[in-house]
């Protein structure tokens, strides 16, 4: 069966060696990897830290997923609570809507959150529960935004879940509030989830250039700041093409210009800051950005010098999803690391084009195939290090391949100038660790040796 949804992106031709990516490929049973749409929706919305996130379904959907992401909070922690309606057999038979209503009431009464997000799951979608009307009724009764997120796992990929979460924000949140009078309007950061605190590094940078963040969608966000996102002057889509639709819609609805950018690597960071200032149409700000980026880049190149020496000519295989597949390539290139293999399984046609722009001709594309395919590429291409998500970390360990975690469960922030330095340190540490030699050396009794002479 063909995918239910067709991708919104045009499939334009790209470099001859780059593979064609099917818009929304159907996962291959028996060879599928990665999360579902429900997972994707949570990735986008959970970083709204002060909101409650209620999962309507059997317990495992929430139970197996809460507290698993590296998104950090500077204050409220309600979003780290795992809320589940925990449906039982009889709830399925008689309907879970009453339980859902009671759960919403309970959370509202006890935790008084600024909003409650309610996620549907495969089971509640299948039994046809009317999430929208339960949420609507509860919202009116409680005088509190109760937002239905219709992204059950079986509708598709994680990416689609991101997009559906973005649609929920557009429909129910953005434009429902007004900023406080003293708020300075600036840029919305879309698709930056504050993994390992990356958002904080970015905000600090923007602050030094005098660029205000209007709404964070959604890293370390507070609910109310998203309600006034429509007042921002610029939208930046950071590392999540799935939310491009959100930016497009906001441009149409509110006339906010947007651009896509990344903070991985000094060049991309500089470009992103410049783009912000340019779209803000503020001459003074542009000058400030120029001064800042110049200063930061020269300081960075000083600090990077010893690491560049160590990393020069090293070969890496990169296996990650979406935008990171191309933005991290830029960062690695700046450090002198050559990307000899890159995963394209979760990339869009645009992503692949950008990968092709950034890598050489001899880079291998890994369209699918999971761990064994990645390992094969590492071996064949004589890579020194593997850069991928946590799921593949221990696969690499078993093969004694140095590894860096780049996905959402990680604990290191790699964004901005500081982040690039951190990435360099991490690469150097990983490659130079004594464990690789130790693990490769056999026990003394396993070596051929002359008998012990007493």
């Amino acid at each position: 069966m063909d995918p239910v949804r067709h991708d919104e992106f045009d499939s334009q031709a790209c470099g001859s060696i780059a593979p064609k990516v099917k818009a929304c490929p159907r996962p291959k049973p028996g060879e599928a990897a990665g999360g579902c749409s429900f997972d994707g929706a949570q990735i986008t919305l959970l970083p709204i830290m002060d909101a409650a996130h209620l999962v309507h379904g059997p317990v495992a959907c929430a139970g197996n997923s809460w507290e698993s992401r590296g998104t950090l909070s500077s204050g409220p922690s309600l979003s780290q609570y795992g809320f589940a309606t925990d449906l039982t057999d009889s709830d399925i038979i008689f309907g879970g809507e009453k339980k859902l209503k009671d759960s919403i009431d309970y959370i509202a009464g006890r935790f008084a959150p600024p909003a409650i997000f309610v996620y549907s799951t495969c089971v509640t979608a299948l039994t046809g529960e009317d999430l929208d009307s339960v949420c609507k009724e509860a919202a009116e009764r409680l005088g509190l935004p109760v937002i239905p997120v219709n992204s059950p796992g079986f509708v598709g990929s994680k990416n689609l879940g991101n997009r559906l979460a973005g649609e929920a924000l557009l429909q129910y949140v953005i434009g429902t509030g007004e900023p406080e009078p003293e708020t300075v309007m600036g840029v919305n950061l879309i698709g930056e989830y504050n993994i390992a605190g990356e958002m904080w590094d970015i905000e600090r940078l923007m602050g030094s250039a005098g660029i205000a963040v209007t709404s964070r969608i959604t890293g370390d966000a507070r609910y109310k700041e998203i309600t006034w996102a429509h007042r921002a002057k610029v939208n930046m889509v950071v590392c999540s093409r799935a939310l491009l639709g959100l930016a497009r819609e906001m441009e149409g609805r509110y006339g906010i210009p947007f651009f896509e950018g990344s903070f991985y690597g000094a060049k991309e960071t500089t470009y992103s800051l410049r783009q912000m200032a340019y779209l803000m149409n503020d001459r003074e700000m542009e000058r400030r950005v120029d001064r800042l980026t110049e200063r930061e880049e020269s300081r960075l190149s000083q600090e990077l010098r010893p690491y560049r020496k160590l990393l020069k000519g090293k070969r890496a295989v990169l296996y990650t999803g979406g935008v990171k597949s191309w933005s991290v390539i830029s960062a690695l290139k700046e450090l002198g690391v050559q990307v000899v293999g890159v995963g394209t399984n979760k990339s869009t046609q645009d992503d692949v084009r950008r990968i092709a722009d950034r890598v050489g001709d001899d880079t291998e594309y890994i369209p699918e195939g999971g761990a064994s395919r990645i390992i094969k590429t590492v071996r064949e291409r004589k890579a020194d290090i593997m850069i991928a998500g946590g799921r593949n970390m221990y696969v690499a360990m078993k093969e004694q391949i140095p590894f860096i975690d780049i996905n959402q469960e990680r604990h290191k922030a790699y964004a901005g100038y500081e982040g690039l330095l951190r990435l360099a340190k991490e690469l150097a540490y990983s490659l130079g660790n004594p464990i690789w030699k130790l693990a490769a050396s056999p026990a003394p009794w396993d070596k051929e040796a002359p008998p012990y002479d007493r």
Binding site: M1, P29, G30, E31, G63, S68, K99, F154, G156
Partner: protein
Amino acid sequence: MTVNRRKKPVSVNPLKIGQSLGAVLALQGCYRAMPLIHGAQGCSAFPKALLTRHFREPIALQTSALQEMDVIFDANRNLEEALNLVLSKHRPDIIGIIGTELTDVAGVDYQNMLKSYKRERNMRGGLAFTVVLPDFRGSLESGFSATVESMIDEMIQQAGHRGARSVNSRQITLLPGSFLTPADVMELKEMISSFGFEVIALPDISTSLSGHLLTGFSPLTRGGVPLDSMLQSLQSGLTIAVGGSMERPARRLHNALGTPYKVFEGAMGLKATDELLHFLHQISGEPVPLRYCWQRENLLDSMLDAHFQFAGMSVLAALEPDHLYSVSGWLEELGVEQKALLTSFETPLVAGMEREVWVGDLDDAEVLGKGADLWISNSHGIAGAKRVSAAFLAAGFPVWSELGAYMSVSVGYRGAMEWSNRAGNLIMQREAGSRESSVRHR
């Protein structure tokens, strides 16, 4: 005594873990196995990530990757596709098809599908079975034991034994419960074999999830009990089950083959270990090895040393049912107050406990355990323990906050000693912390 529940419409900070995850865990203990979750992608992606995080090992797992239309029209077509692919590409010895709530609600009949699939493909030599594990019922523990049960049924069926069989009286089948770590299973195997028995653990995570250095990636499980040993276990003279939940699989062997069985509900603490060793001593006629006599004294001595620390202390434990029973028995011996005991679902074992047990979540733990000095639960409890300012001891599943948690021993005298020291140290550190802050505030 009684099992209580707090009235609350919603689960807040769940303690319960989906049954299917227990099934995946059980299959990791079998060599060249592939668990196949019949459900949406997330139904396997989440458990895979969680198990990887806990054991710090690659986890073998695949999915039928159901999408909306597949569920509506024909979910089994995906399953067939997945089976075809897994069989042709990886040739596993064991396939466990794990049904989820999604296939349950949609009413997918994959049991019959597998039967006809096996007939058509003439699948000889391998072991393929189904197990129905929606998340509406039970938790990790029940998923684990139900999977072992299904596996045993399939083994019996395949071996074709009914009644007559050759019995090896020096061979024991060990059925270790889901709460035991790889190091625990190893310890139990050592204990039993030290009395001169051959032990076949079913499943055996001690050789698959304990950390190995085998290179050459395979999407199947590495380590664990191989299929021929599994089938050989049908000749065992005795079954030893550890954990109340493993009684049912033991009974299956008994009913089909007449293998006698002995259930040890727990294996933690002095009395539980005494019982186990005494039993092994009796059935083997061998003396208890000297090292256990030493360990027994070590344990008693460390408990003497630690009893000052535990005086007047209270503990909260939130664990899977069998685990809770075990830990509660050990706490009893330490003489601490058991402020609250929580578990994920009701089983006959916890219902029969002398202490009050609550079925609930980690939010209930915060309410019931207010004022406890020590909090014992999986890593999800860290935040709650902090809020009620209790010292935190990670146990159960998942534990991601500590290195080597999967290698910690809780069974035997050695395990009890390790836990007593760990718990005592945590309480000591907490006291030192509060003394320090009181000095600073003055």
